[in-house]
Subunit: 150 residues, 2 copies
DNA sequence: TCGAAATTGGGAATCACTCTTACTTTGATG
DNA sequence: CATCAAAGTAAGAGTGATTCCCAATTTCGA
């Protein structure tokens, strides 16, 4: 049972997080997590349901809210008008940012060098301090055109 | 007529931008720009109409789209489900980022040191290159709690 | 195993936003 | 300075993503 497994047991983590928030890891929720693992990258709920027909639309909306508030999934906000979801960084263990294609709406993940993330954090905390704003997290998005639309 | 006026003639800039896109700077559009100047910080359209009752809701929506595509206003996307608008950086001449209160939904502007913006740009272009993604602009948001909700 | 509590899912309801349409304003032109 | 076509206005209908409702089903602890 390695503690530093590059692919830790996502399902166990999901079950624990849900339980800690008073929810169950039901089969529908597991199917959603499996689809998110499979697809990789923030997806809209219609895309998710398309990827696994056994999911009901209304349950997918409800469950993604539950997964979000339990810290298993993250809601990704983009300029197009579907919400997108991906597994939370708590779960994937990787901090990343998003490249959003303003043409097709697709979202890609990317990472920055850790050293740069550190100086980014320093700058942001500085800014938060001077505005008396308590920082929970940051989002860094690139808006532009992906290679498909380029 | 100083060229480097800290408060350049926003209305002239707005009129020119609109004309360049085949639109007029009508009185309703001027009232919207005036409200955006007065309020400062991204506001929802209901907030805007509240700030100036003479504005009609449907016209406000339509005109903000026109102002956006003419480069006068910018649509700000946040986790709550109202679109927010502010004057474009082209118009204000200041690059800034957003602190978003996840409690009340309010959005504050903040700026980073220019030197840091430069190294940020370098990192992002590096990342864009390796993903074959053409960067148009970036967004850097702080999510957390504002001083009112703290 | 049993029962209470949680979950499911299909369809109705909601609500921010956009479209339609008939009317008004604007400004270029003769 | 009169005309009129293009541009703008605004009230309300329409749209579509998301949420709500609730009866039926599943789950888990005792």
């Amino acid at each position: 049972m390695p503690t530093d497994d590059p692919k830790p047991d996502t399902h166990q983590l999901a079950a624990d997080s849900l339980k800690a928030h008073g929810h169950r890891y039901s089969s529908a929720r597991r199917r959603i997590v499996e689809a998110l693992l499979r697809i990789d990258g923030p997806v809209t709920i219609p895309q998710l349901v398309e990827a696994d027909d056994s999911l009901a639309l209304s349950s997918a909306y409800r469950n993604l809210s539950v997964l979000e508030e339990s810290g298993v999934a993250t809601r990704v906000v983009t300029p197009d008008d579907h919400a997108r979801f991906e597994l939370a960084e708590r779960v994937t263990r990787r901090h990343h940012h998003h490249m959003i294609c303003t043409d097709c709406g697709d979202v890609l993940d990317f990472e920055l060098p850790e050293s740069f993330e550190d100086s980014l954090d320093r700058e942001l905390h500085q800014a938060g301090r001077s505005a008396t704003f308590t920082i929970d997290r940051h989002h860094l998005d690139l808006l532009g055109t992906c290679s498909d639309c380029g």
